[in-house]
């Protein structure tokens, strides 16, 4: 009994452990709810360590989730919600960095490097020092000889 009481006290004192969206937050409109989920996955929980608000148990994340749902119900577009959050809480809140000159290196470094590689490959194909290699096929005589060798085994 004593143990049960301790447990009860502890459970009341403990922070909520349920991760992310709680049942009472969910919108009735499943399409809006899905949009809310998708947006939430792209918003950082500001007080957590590298978590999005969709997965986070933090109080602040919950407030954000509710805010997003309220804005959706009011008829805002996804973009308007992102802009609103960025306005209030800074770019830090967006898990997907904005596509702007400051972040171009993030988005372009991969494609540019690949393009460079492709150009290099194309050039090496063009000036083809490889063609000095003997032709790909064996001559008729060689083929004959190979057949002989194989049949001997």
């Amino acid at each position: 009994m004593k143990r049960f009481v301790t447990l009860l006290v502890l459970l009341i004192l403990m922070p909520s452990s349920f991760l992310g969206v709680e049942p009472n937050e969910i919108l009735d409109d499943s399409q809006l709810e899905q949009r809310a989920r998708d947006i939430s996955k792209n918003i950082r929980c500001m007080v957590c360590q590298n978590e999005n608000i969709d997965d986070s148990a933090a109080e602040l994340a919950r407030d954000f989730r509710i805010l997003i749902r309220e804005m959706l119900v009011e008829g805002n577009t996804d973009q308007q919600i992102y802009d609103y959050i960025e306005d209030r809480y800074g770019e830090f809140a967006l898990l997907k960095p904005r596509f702007n000159p400051k972040n171009w290196i993030l988005y372009f470094s991969g494609p540019i490097l690949i393009m460079l590689c492709l150009i290099l490959i194309y050039r090496s194909y063009k000036n083809s020092k490889f063609e000095e290699l003997p032709a790909n096929d064996f001559t008729l005589e060689e083929k004959k000889r190979i057949k002989e060798l194989i049949s001997k085994r």
Binding site: L10, S17, G20, N42, K102, N103, L106, L113, F130, N136
Partner: protein, 653 residues
């Protein structure tokens, strides 16, 4: 007393490493055999001392010696034995001690194994290995002494984070460290090869087993970490693109590239310079990984030690070795001979493309991981680079890799025939396409990720099998003959195919879970029945229980599918009084085709509980794939172990 012995051994190990560097240095310069030999033996002594030191700290943990600061902060008498031991490396000081233990262990292995390597070269490799050990030993002794005593020892310890009390996590760090640190050997080999001017096919064959071993450990370590996150963090996420995850993933990508380029170097004496560069990069990235974790410079779940002096020390070590190695590379790399020519369509070209894709993808991850830091330093802006970014920029590389893989393995060395290679792959291509169309028509909605992902997976898997079948002439020759040929294939061939199959399996898992996961969140009263997908769940009861250091509430769910009971699942919610925290222990009913995953949430009053239920299709294939990849690595590795080598001299017929 034992603690003091441990501390003393660590100091002695440091002295031995200094001595070793001197002895090998002089022996190498003056070409004295005995000195070189003594130098290699010191690797054994050094490992012995560090081993004693590590054992003594483990002893302190097992016996709960709370006169040690480290034990007090990271242990508790009530903890199960396994977690007392894993507590040794569940903290900064201990994990660094484990790091040097592994470092010297690899030095020891190199010293006693691989007798085919000329002594002079081996000693030179150990010279560089010892320099790394020295740097980290001094780091431990000067900034993070694990043997520090407390003036007034408490009666009990302050526990370990309950999240970390888990078998998966007990073995995750040691495996990753084996991988990270194993790369130090390739690094030392690269430097020795540069200094010696001998980067050639023999060099590649010496270094390849070490690269393989590190790669296997990294693969398993990363998979274990991901699996741990999946069942422990409570919502079934398996990869978060967390900076610290990236820190282990980047070396993995580079090591995968390194494995393939070493192969080219070994077989064709090509890509020598590139391979050396990759060896340097791979280890540098593991140093960066260590720096990321240890300095706490990037906030993440993993940084349990945030101490700037330590960060700066590791940064210094990182710059010393990375910078030094790159300078050496620039100065001496020119001496490395260029290789033989090969035609445009050849295995060599395919492996070069593999390398480019892997390295550039690692670079994209690198930029994504560090860009927030850079922007903050330059402009003072705080930005986040999270999973949506990485998924967008990283995935194309993996798609390209899996598209190229079957074609690459079907091309011959030196000059392949692209037409013939493509022709041999018509069947897998058609099968993969048909499957994709079939799935697309079966699923609701037009999301392409699932069908395309599975198409790629099938393409990789069938392509690999087709290549193997083609190699032994299945269909062309009688089956018996083919099977005999299959038996005669070198083990490295099996290893390769296995690893590629594993890659395909992992793609299956990732594509399925990302596309077709079902999630249900609701309030459930005891006795309620609810439906998720084609499964029926009933909450039977919620009970109170407890363990050695926690209290728990356990929900009991019955799962019905097709009118028969599939499972009784028991998700838990735990309270750890000493650590003052709660965790959720999800209940998972595992299967090859799907996992059922239930999380018990908060009490909602009147016998009602918040419950999350998931159906996760094919999710286990992610880790099965990783395991099969690692198994492939092991098979390939086994051909290098003298004990396991086939001794089958050809019988004269």
């Amino acid at each position: 007393m034992i603690t003091e012995i441990g501390h003393l051994s660590l100091i002695l190990a440091l002295l031995v490493s200094v001595l070793q560097i001197g002895v090998v240095g002089v022996g190498y310069a003056k070409n004295i055999f005995n000195w070189l030999y003594a130098g290699t033996l010191m690797a054994v002594v050094q490992f012995g001392f560090i081993g004693i030191s590590f054992l003594s700290i483990t002893w302190a943990f097992v016996n709960s010696d709370f006169s040690l600061t480290l034990v007090t902060n990271n242990s508790h008498t009530l903890k199960p034995l396994l977690y007392k031991i894993s507590g040794v490396w569940g903290n900064h000081e201990g994990s660094m001690l484990l790091w040097v233990l592994v470092l010297s262990f690899f030095g020891f292995l190199l010293a006693v194994l691989q007798r085919q390597i000329p002594l002079k070269f081996k000693a030179l490799v150990l010279f560089f290995q010892s320099a790394i050990t020295l740097a980290f030993l001094s780091f431990i002794l000067f900034t993070s002494n694990p043997f520090a005593r407390l003036e007034f020892p408490p009666f009990n310890g302050y526990d370990l984070n309950p999240l970390l009390q888990d078998p998966g996590l007990a073995f995750h760090p040691p495996l990753l460290y084996l991988g990270y640190v194993g790369l130090s050997i390739s690094f030392s080999f690269a430097l020795a090869g540069l200094a010696n001017g001998s980067i050639n096919s023999a060099w590649a064959s010496w270094v390849r087993p070490w690269t393989l071993l590190s790669w296997v450990c990294l693969t398993l370590g990363i998979a274990l970490g991901s699996w741990w996150a999946y069942y422990e963090l409570g919502w079934g996420g398996w990869w978060f693109w967390d900076p610290v995850e990236n820190a282990s993933f980047m070396p993995w990508l580079i090591t995968t590239a390194l494995l393939h380029s070493t192969l080219v170097l070994e077989k064709r004496e090509q890509l020598a310079k590139w391979t050396v560069l990759l060896s340097i990069l791979a280890f540098s990235l593991s140093l960066i990984g260590t720096f990321l974790v240890r300095s706490g410079i990037i906030t993440s779940v993993h940084s349990f030690a945030s101490d700037p002096t330590r960060g700066i020390y590791i940064l210094a070590i990182m710059f010393l070795f990375t910078g030094g190695a790159l300078v050496l590379y620039l100065l001496l790399g020119k001496k490395i001979r260029g290789g033989r020519v090969f035609s445009f369509w050849s295995r060599e070209s395919a492996l070069i493309s593999n390398n480019l894709l892997l390295v550039i993808s690692a670079m994209v991850v690198f930029i994504g991981t560090f860009w927030p830091l850079i922007i903050e330093t330059i402009q003072g802006d705080k930005i986040s680079v999270g999973p949506p970014y990485f998924n967008l920029t990283f995935t194309p590389f993996m798609i390209a890799l899996s598209l190229l893989l079957p074609i690459g393995v079907s091309l011959a060395w030196k000059r392949g025939n692209i037409a013939r290679a493509l022709k041999s792959l018509i069947a897998p291509a058609i099968l993969a396409l048909v499957l994709a169309i079939l799935i697309l028509s079966l699923q609701t909605g037009m999301r392409m990720l699932g069908p395309v992902g599975l198409m790629l997976a099938v393409w990789v898997i069938l392509g690999t099998l087709w290549e193997l079948a083609g190699k032994v002439g299945i269909g062309k020759h009688p089956l018996g003959k083919s099977l005999r040929w299959l038996k005669l294939l070198p083990r490295t061939e099996y290893g390769k195919s296995m690893a590629h199959l594993g890659f395909g399996f992992t793609i299956i898992g990732i594509a399925s879970i990302t596309s077709w996961e079902l999630e249900d969140i609701r309030v459930v009263r005891i006795g309620d029945v609810y439906q998720v997908g084609s499964y029926e769940f009933q909450l039977l009861d919620v009970k109170e229980t407890g363990g050695p250091n926690y209290f728990a509430q356990v929900g009991e769910f019955e799962v019905i599918h097709d009118n028969s009971q599939v499972a009784v699942m028991l998700p838990e919610k735990r309270v750890y009084p000493v650590a003052n925290s709660t965790t959720t222990e999800a209940a998972i009913d595992m299967g090859l085709l799907r996992d059922l995953y239930i999380v018990l949430g908060d009490f909602q009053g009147e016998d009602a509980w918040a419950v999350r239920t998931y159906i996760k299709p094919m999710v286990n294939w992610i880790w099965i794939g990783a395991f099969v990849m690692a198994l492939g690595g092991c098979i390939s590795l086994s051909s290098r172990l003298p004990v396991l080598q086939k001794r089958k001299p050809r019988k004269a017929s």
